[in-house]
């Protein structure tokens, strides 16, 4: 009975965002340090900004973060990354919705990230594609 009451209190919709916030920050403990720093900063900032958001924005906000929390909880254990990679690739239909500016930003981000990792295969590919396109024009 006590457990049932506790569960009923736990899903109190008013407090659910706080639960979500805490679980996400807790899950981030398992991330590698640089990823955790970035993730924590982003989560804190996003939640802060939506603290007085209108109800119609709150629902998708909470849904998306719940999805994120569930995805992460499957990929992380308290000891760190459970297996394989963390995160997931962007869906192709989500990709279609992005504007050209967004795509460009993502490409720049990828190139910079690769530079830090000492990889340049993506950048080479990109250059090849651009060259080929210029030739065909």
């Amino acid at each position: 009975m006590k457990a049932a009451q506790a569960a009923a209190r736990a899903i109190n919709p008013e407090r659910f965002p706080l639960y979500l916030y805490k679980s996400i920050l807790r899950l981030h403990y398992g991330l590698p340090a640089p990823a955790r720093l970035m993730g924590d900063t982003y989560v804190k900032d996003e939640f802060k900004r939506h603290i007085n958001a209108k109800p119609e924005f709150v629902k998708p906000f909470i849904t998306e973060w719940t999805n994120y929390c569930m995805m992460l909880s499957k990929q992380l254990s308290s000891a760190g990354i459970r297996k394989g990679n963390i995160g997931k690739d962007l869906d192709s239909d989500k990709m279609e919705q992005l504007s050209n500016e967004h795509i460009q930003q993502l490409v720049e981000l990828r190139v910079e990230a690769d530079k830090h990792m000492g990889r340049d295969d993506f950048f080479q590919n990109l250059q090849n594609i651009t060259e080929n396109r210029e030739k065909s024009v």
Binding site: A10, R15, L18, Y19, Y21, K22, L25, K44, I51
Partner: protein, 116 residues
Amino acid sequence: MSRLMVPSVNYIQTRGSKIEVFGPFDPPKQLTFKQVEERVLKAVRSWDRFPADKESLLKLDADLSKDFGFDSLDQVEIVMALEDEFGFEIPLQDSDKFKTIRDAFKYICEREDVYE
């Protein structure tokens, strides 16, 4: 028969009483009110977004929302700092009721059986 009932050794050994060097870890020490207070304040002070200009206000009776202007999200983060400091989880339905730092202090003392 009565001879068998007498314990062969005449002193009572309590746990750890015969050990002089306790091995690689210190045995858990009983916390005191003062230690808990220090550690609570330390955890709050070292929280990464603690406003530096309000450090003089930091004492047990400080009110989290009135004196520091912390919102519910900040409070969750502070409670997480306390959890990390003391090594146990404080459920949200309990930490929601913390109004002042003293409430958190009381909760921790109760949980850790601190009585002096």
